[in-house]
């Protein structure tokens, strides 16, 4: 088992390096392939005042005149040991992990991401708990009462929910739940450490919106999985033992149905932690997703690069967690290793 964990950890590190390389290639190499010269590239990255001197300075800073391999090496080195940048006569220390600094705000990328992390974490984890519990509960009831009014309505809603984008459901929620009916306060982030109640109530609306979208998918998956396991021979065995139906469903049928759910849950949580772009944008929450949107609009490439790597990091991390949890959920996987 230890060997397996180590092997998986090693693979994760390699995977992240590959992601870094690909992101790097997309932002630094592809424009060159399209025929951009070094000066043109530097002009893109230079910000609002593309004077000749500024362009030359940018080329220097980003090593744009160096071979690509060296550029990549400098970039990766920055992540592990930090880097130094010269602005005219000033030398700025960017300590490890250094993802560079924003061309627009001249802020270092990594601390900026760290600042926004609590918002995205609060939003993502809160919503994840809601959608997992809500989706699975609806899916179980739908499967058990297959064909009932509840099943039809909830599956209809679920279909609608997966099809509707967040900027639509989010606006609806704002219009009705906040303005017309006054059920929730408008979305606002208060750190948990300052005021837990304000934290929860301020995030309730974005949680619900984000959870609604995902819960729909989980409800459908759980329902399908439950319908499949309810037909298995071991369910018949459980009934033949004289177990109550509730125990047959919750102990014997639900666990196998949840196994595949665990896989998609890991992916989804990883995605959301990398930035819930639409939700943060709709509710003006200052998280990583919003940071990324701003950066994209402003062609702020180091920020885009940093956010992409961060997102990838969470997805890899959550997948690793799922893979390590899997043998606990399904003992047969243990045997296969």
């Amino acid at each position: 088992m230890l060997r397996y964990i180590l092997r998986r950890l090693g693979a994760s590190v390699v995977l992240l390096l590959v992601v870094t390389l690909m992101t790097f290639v997309i932002f630094y190499v592809v424009p060159r392939l399209a025929g951009r010269t070094t000066e043109q590239l530097a002009t893109m990255y230079v910000g609002r005042a593309p004077t000749e001197a500024a362009i030359q300075a940018t080329i220097q800073r980003l090593n744009l005149d160096q071979p690509l391999v060296l550029q990549f090496w400098e970039f990766v080195k920055g992540i592990f040991v930090g880097a130094e940048y010269t602005f005219g006569n000033d030398v700025v220390q960017c300590s490890a992990p250094c993802f560079g600094y924003s061309f627009q705000t001249y802020q270092e990328v990594f601390p900026a991401i760290l600042d926004r992390l609590p918002v995205t974490f609060s939003l993502g984890l809160g919503a994840a708990v809601l959608w997992l519990l809500g989706g699975v509960a609806v899916g179980v009831v739908s499967a058990v009462k297959k064909g009932s009014i509840f099943d039809r309505i909830s599956m209809g809603l679920a279909l609608a929910a997966v099809s509707l984008p967040i900027f639509f459901t989010g606006q609806l929620a704002l219009a009705f739940l906040v303005h017309d009916w006054d059920l929730f306060p408008n979305a606002r982030y208060t750190p948990f450490t300052e005021d837990p109640v304000a934290w929860a109530s301020g995030l309730m609306l974005p949680w619900l919106t984000l959870a609604f979208l995902h819960a729909a998918q989980y409800a459908r998956q759980t329902r399908a999985g439950m319908l499949e396991t309810m037909g298995e021979d071991y369910i018949r065995t459980a009934r033949a033992k004289g177990l109550k139906e509730s125990r047959v469903i919750l102990k014997h049928a639900l666990r196998p149905a949840l196994t595949p759910i665990l896989t998609i849950f890991g992916l989804d949580v990883g995605m959301v932690l990398g930035g819930a772009v639409l939700t943060e944008q709709v509710y003006s929450l200052n998280g990583i997703g919003r940071y990324a949107v701003t950066a994209i609009v402003q062609s702020d490439l180091p920020v885009i690069l940093g956010v992409t790597l961060f997102g990838a990091f969470f997805i890899v991390l959550c997948n690793l967690a799922v893979d390590l949890l899997y043998p606990l959920v399904d003992p047969r996987v243990r045997a296969a290793r």
Partner: protein
Amino acid sequence: MTTPETGNRNDALPVVSVRDLSITFPTADGDVHAVKNLSFEVAQGGALGVVGESGSGKSVTSLALMGLHRGTRARISGEIRIAGTDVVTADDRTIRAMRGNDIAMVFQDPMSSLHPQYTIGNQLVEAYLTHRPGAGKAEARRRAVEVLDRVGIPEPARRINSYPHEFSGGMRQRVLIAMGLVCEPKVLLADEPTTALDVTVQAQILDLLDELRRDLGMALILVSHDLAVVAGSVDEVLVMRKGEAVERGDVRRVLGSPQHPYTRQLLAAVPRVEVTRAQRRAQLRAEREGRPVPVAAEPPRPAGQTGEEPLLVVRDVRQRFRIRGGLFGSSTDFYAVDGVSFDLYRGETLGVVGESGSGKSTLSRMVMRLLEPTEGSIVFQGRDITHLPERKMRPLRRDIQMVFQNPYSSLNPRMTVGESIGAPLRIQGERNSKLIRSRVQELLERVGLEPSHYNRFPHAFSGGQRQRIAIARALILRPKLVICDEPVSALDVSTQDQVLRLLAELQEDFDLTLIFVAHDLAVVRQISDRVLVMCKGKIVETGDSDEVYENPQHPYTRQLLAAAPVLDPDEARAHRAERARLRGGQPQAEAV
């Protein structure tokens, strides 16, 4: 019920009593009457065998006895009483109190009937605590270890923490039986408990059920498609057909002098280990002569080893599998087939017998070159194909075809049967769709199906029909050698018989050479000229089939023969005693 030996039990109140039971399933095409006016009784400590082919209503009846029809669309009328509980009218709570406590059920497929994600201990303890809510966890665990020990699980106190996938099929069936015993039920209902198991394991499970019934005074209801399976274990037999009881009576009477033609038909279908290949051939020939068969009679089969060159020469083949595992990922070698040699002559049928894990399927896959042998050589028609690359192998595939065990999973459910059968022709380069179609239809007719079945999908066919389709697919290229890997083990006895007859006919008409792999000795004897007995990857005995059966040399062959079910109840009991003696005398013949 009224047998002389069980006469004293007649006074006791029957523990199971079924009266005028009818079970109906409403469908879009009208009602399907799965069971019609069925009545029977089982006395305390008595044993009833319920026999019939699939679709006879025997499984529906077993489920109804457990009250497991509830929650399905089945409509039920009549009366079922189990140890005082009226199963038809009682409320759910009463039924739950009865299940597992008064009547316990053992299901057909031990591989899928245990929950894969809980330890067997967890599942046994749960069964006990459900009916003994006052008992503590420790007591339930003690009881679980006790019953595991009772059913012959070695080291039960340690094995109780194992998961089902860590047990073999036979061991899982023992665990399921243990789970049934945990609350000391009055009735044990076993629905095809050995159908998924090897002959030797089947014998062990049947012996165990018989022993438990006698020691614990339980009533036993044994449901099977095979009369030979129930013969040695029950007092009374109920033969079902299309939902109705066609015959019911003392086991000796029903098997000795059957009254109903259907019972006689079932009896005739049971493959008998004592019938030789020659007798069987003569019988089939005689039957065929009665029918008009458009194919000219084949010349008598060449005797084989008369200086003629063999079609297939297998020399010392081995197949190694690496098993990873161990703390540092070290791997150990495991030889699934370990030094097997044989010759096969044109027109001959070679039977390969062995239990699961004996390497017989691996061997057939190597001959088929689906696997590349690790060592040794395979020469087909004078050409060494041992390490032939796939590209060069492809034209040869025309001559070697295979029929697989499971007709349910070996046909692509999304292809019509016509496409499936025609696919080999297409793969071999035939482009004329009309020609393919006509040849497929011709062959469909030849294997006993309708040409109009061309456009149907596999799900519309029964198991036996699907196996006919699989045979047609194997024959479309007019191969020289056909490997049949357990072709009938998933089928009912009567269907089995039909498919075996078909194979025998086709062998003559198409001049086929067959390798017939099976765990059922009787089936192999009826179809083979020569037999290989395999055990743990090696050949332990080989020879002319009559010789091997009448004068087995190796103890393993003798053990296999003693395990084969027989129709005569008294002989069956004698075999059981013989097995008990073999087990007692040979500690290495461990329970599987």
